[in-house]
């Protein structure tokens, strides 16, 4: 189905050999448009070969993430790792991973009798790194794309023109726009340097969770998953792995439990899965306060004016 559609769109594109096609063709034909040092140097050829067909995925254990300190650790780790600005105006907030209410995230799964406490139970949400992402379909510049080697939906902040079409297309509200220069709102140390080396963004571009692609490229794991290793009892609250590898922990969980994903009927194929508690009381008993657990105020750093 998806393959057919992609094929159709491709055909649609190819049949219309218009002005648009002319320019890339010209670029390709233009002499010297290859690498600057094509004759003498270039990207190394000994790079680790990508495992074909890999698709990174995350399993969120909803019950374990009911604990405020678990969610706070996740959000805090992400904020620090990516120098995410803490903008007070919720209309202009930047969020990569945050917590929202169960009833809003799984609006199709609740009914008139779902207890209020369950509706309001906090659940972590982030970019779903969909198998067929609508954001990528609509992006006019290729600033967001799906990595072939591991299925991460990436963002190129250098190429984004800030048209926000991807934000209109994302059915999960996972994308944030930099309505202003985020630098002044990024937590910094006493020397005025941001806490992480990760580049901050500039105004006018869209950003979102990237599954910490930069860490994965160096053999690491997402910062949120790593941070939970320091939280006692949080083991397995977030499980990250290759969903196409039958031996992975993620695959094991998916094969042994009934898990949910967000808005499956839209066909985007989210790769963030939710392991929900077997019994409702677990959800209903959750502390409903602190749902607005976004960007917990840190005592280590301060936000510049």
């Amino acid at each position: 189905m998806n393959e057919t559609r992609r094929g159709f769109l491709k055909a649609l594109g190819l049949t219309t050999v218009g002005t648009g096609l002319g320019i890339p063709l010209l670029r390709a034909l233009r002499p010297g448009s290859g690498t600057v040092l094509a004759q003498v140097s270039g990207p190394a050829e000994t790079a680790p070969a990508a495992v074909p067909g890999r698709q990174w995925a995350m399993v969120v254990d909803v019950e374990k993430c009911l604990r405020d300190d678990v969610r706070a650790a996740v959000i805090e780790a992400c904020d620090r790792e990516h120098n995410i600005p803490r903008i007070p105006d919720p209309k202009q907030e930047v969020k990569w991973v945050w917590s929202d209410e169960y009833g809003d995230i799984f609006a199709d799964q609740i009914n008139a009798h779902t207890p209020a406490a369950a509706r309001e139970a906090p659940v972590l949400v982030m970019c779903n790194h969909c198998t067929d992402p609508p954001c990528i379909r609509v992006c006019p510049t290729g600033a967001t794309w799906k990595r072939e080697k591991d299925g991460i939906v990436m963002m190129d902040m250098h190429r984004c023109i800030g048209c926000r079409y991807c934000m209109a297309a994302c059915p999960f509200g996972s994308r944030s726009f930099n309505w202003r220069d985020p630098r002044p709102y990024v937590e910094h140390d006493e020397n005025g340097k941001p806490l992480s080396d990760f580049p901050t963004r500039m105004k006018g571009v869209v950003e979102k969770c990237t599954f910490c692609a930069e860490r994965i490229d160096e053999g690491g794991e997402p910062a949120c998953v790593e941070a939970l290793r320091q939280v006692p009892g949080a083991e397995g609250a977030l499980v990250f792995g290759d969903v196409n590898d039958p031996e992975s922990e993620v695959s094991r969980i998916l094969s042994e439990h009934l898990v949910m994903e967000r808005r499956p009927t839209l066909g985007t194929g989210p790769n963030v899965y939710y392991l929900v508690p077997d019994a409702l009381p677990a959800l209903a008993a959750a502390p409903s306060a602190g749902v607005d657990g976004n960007h917990p105020v840190s005592e280590r750093g301060e936000v510049a004016p």
Partner: protein
């Protein structure tokens, strides 16, 4: 020929100065937005498109509506439109210009806008919109200028331009269809995801555009001493009537599906428009005023006795134009974002800089239109004297 644009009376220069002041204010507001980012607008994480994109959408319709004079004149030899056709084509030129500017002022990183052609993505409707709008601008510029040049010389337009005129007809339909596809292909936004959006866009465009053209033609007659003829105005009035009737029908058809089926996501947007949702109802008064205008204007238009009196026709056209502006230039885009994918109702209201920039863009279109119409008037004056 073009230097004639620089000769004019006090009223002409007064009008240009008026546009100039608005452009200046808009320019200042834009330089502020350019410096500090889109934070100066009322848009937000949830409502990520606002007034700019809505105006773009509305004006694509006005641009496309030129086909409503081009088609009867060139395909059906409807002679009454002989003098109207050039006004329609130049209206299209300035409207497309306005559309492109609205897209531009909406960009977060305007300096990178050429990335759309440097890294074209054939699966993005935005790319196709960019292409079709550029093509349409070019077509109408060429056709319009050749027509006016031919008239000045008293010769028929060159034969080779005929195919381009015929091409401009489906092209006009395509620009608004592609613009509708920008919206109607998004599974995230049930309010937009309807197959009737493109037909609806076309119907409302063919009502709003000719309405504007009627008003412009009467203004040109009054202040420029150039009469397109009562028959042309009457034909345009008929077009507005049919298009508006079809548009109202389409809106009803769409409302029926959304409301009768009762699927919350589809219904909520309509509930927000007419009654408000979760205590938010910013668009409610606009919706009711717009719909009342639509009903009253359409009723008036449907009665030939009223429609055929130019005094009334102008009023009715004003009503049609205003109601469609509310529908498309205000409600359509914002409501698509309500409620958000996470069920939140975030309201949107444009800010002062946003409105200033919007007026500035419209003023730039007004300036171009004024100059182009002046060109037409000069040529007509000379040929009439000769």
């Amino acid at each position: 020929m073009i230097q004639n644009v620089l000769h004019g009376g006090r009223r002409y220069w007064g009008l240009l100065a008026f546009w100039g002041v608005l452009i200046l204010i808009g320019g200042l507001a834009y330089s502020h937005q350019f410096a500090v980012g889109l934070q100066v607008t009322g848009m937000s994480r949830d409502v990520s498109w606002g007034l700019y994109i809505a105006q773009f959408t509305f004006m694509v319709g006005v641009a496309a509506s030129a086909v409503m004079v081009v088609l009867p004149y060139y395909l059906h030899d409807h002679k009454a439109f002989g003098k109207t056709v050039i006004l329609g084509e130049f209206l299209a030129v300035s409207s497309v210009l306005v559309c492109m500017l609205f897209i531009f002022v909406d960009m977060g990183q305007p300096r990178r806008v050429m990335n759309v052609v440097l890294h074209p993505q054939f699966h993005s409707l935005m790319f196709w919109d960019f292409m079709s709008l550029s093509g349409y601008l070019l077509l109408n510029l060429v056709i319009g200028f050749l027509a006016i040049e031919a008239e000045r010389k008293g010769t028929p337009p060159p034969r080779w331009v005929r195919p381009f005129i015929y091409l401009s007809i489906p092209w006009a339909v395509s620009i608004h269809t592609v613009t509708a596809f920008l919206y109607s292909g998004l599974s995230a936004r049930p309010f937009w995801m309807t197959a009737i959006l493109a037909p609806r866009f076309l119907a409302s465009a063919f009502a709003a555009g000719p309405s504007l053209l009627i008003v412009l033609a009467l203004l040109v007659r009054r202040f420029g001493g150039f009469d397109v003829g009562a028959r042309a105005i009457r034909s345009l009035g008929t077009i507005v009537t049919y298009a508006m009737a079809v548009n109202v029908f389409f809106v009803l058809v769409e409302s029926f599906t959304a409301i009768y089926s009762g699927i919350p996501h589809d219904e909520e947007a309509f509930r927000y428009l007419f009654m408000g949702l979760d205590g938010h109802a910013a668009l409610r008064p606009w919706t009711w005023v717009g719909d009342a205008l639509a009903v009253v204007s359409l009723t008036g238009l449907l009665i030939p006795k009223i429609r055929h009196q130019e005094r009334w026709l102008v009023l009715l056209c004003g009503g049609v134009f205003a109601s469609l502006w509310i529908e498309k230039g205000l409600a359509l885009v914002v409501t698509g974002f309500i409620p958000s994918p996470l069920g939140i109702v975030t309201e949107y209201a444009p800010t002062a800089p946003e409105i200033a920039i919007t007026l500035g863009v419209y003023a730039l279109g007004g300036l171009v239109l004024t100059a182009l119409y002046k060109l037409v008037l000069n040529v007509r004056e000379k040929t009439q004297l000769a």
